[in-house]
Subunit: 128 residues, 2 copies
């Protein structure tokens, strides 16, 4: 069985290292990258590479939870962007699909943003 | 090995069915539920049950992708809220942690919202 969790971790650590050669080696030529929140899609490894190489900011990615089942994997990761006015940080998720040889054929990112909680029943919730 | 993917699917389908008895049976007494985007935490199955039973709106959940590895699982699901002025729908994710007997000890929800894409390099992106 393909160790999709290990490949997913490598996907994130090679991105963090800007090791574009090792990162590209994980991807199919015709990989599809989707961002459902903005309804954006990129087709092909070459375009996806440019997207990442030109992504603005001093960004850093740290895996928190990785789950793989032989066909797919998910990485729940922390991201951090260093800025002169102070770092910005939150969590995000990337879902990966693999072919039978362990090559990534589809990548889907979710970038959840902080929001103010709505009214809740009293006494149930603690904040951190 | 615990089939955490099957248990995760049952977690979502019993929620969708408002089958509170079957849903509660999946959870540890001291389950912890967290919403990182709002920094909210609920401790205990009883409080988490009230939270869900009183959650406003005619909400519906449909699994899209489930990945489990024997210790954890994730469900990428579609949610829909029926409203007189029109349905609202998007995707969300729930991460589950299990103990050695397959009981859920921790639940973490992410509710990513749609947003307008920033400027991107030209010619890379299609929208859907």
């Amino acid at each position: 069985m393909i160790d999709t969790a290990a490949l997913a971790e490598r996907f994130l650590t090679t991105l963090e290292a800007r090791n574009w050669e090792a990162w590209q080696a994980l991807l199919a030529d015709d990989v599809v990258y989707e961002l459902p929140q903005t309804r954006e899609r990129i087709r092909g490894r070459a375009a996806y590479l440019i997207f990442n190489q030109t992504y603005p900011g001093d960004w850093h990615l740290t895996p928190k939870v990785i789950i793989g089942d032989g066909r797919r994997a998910v990485i729940w990761f922390g991201w951090l962007v260093r800025r002169p006015e102070g770092d910005e940080t939150a969590d995000a998720q990337v879902f990966l699909e693999f072919d039978d040889t362990g090559v990534i054929t589809k990548v889907t990112d979710f970038w959840p943003e902080p929001y103010e909680p709505p009214a809740r029943p009293e006494g149930l919730i603690e904040r951190w």
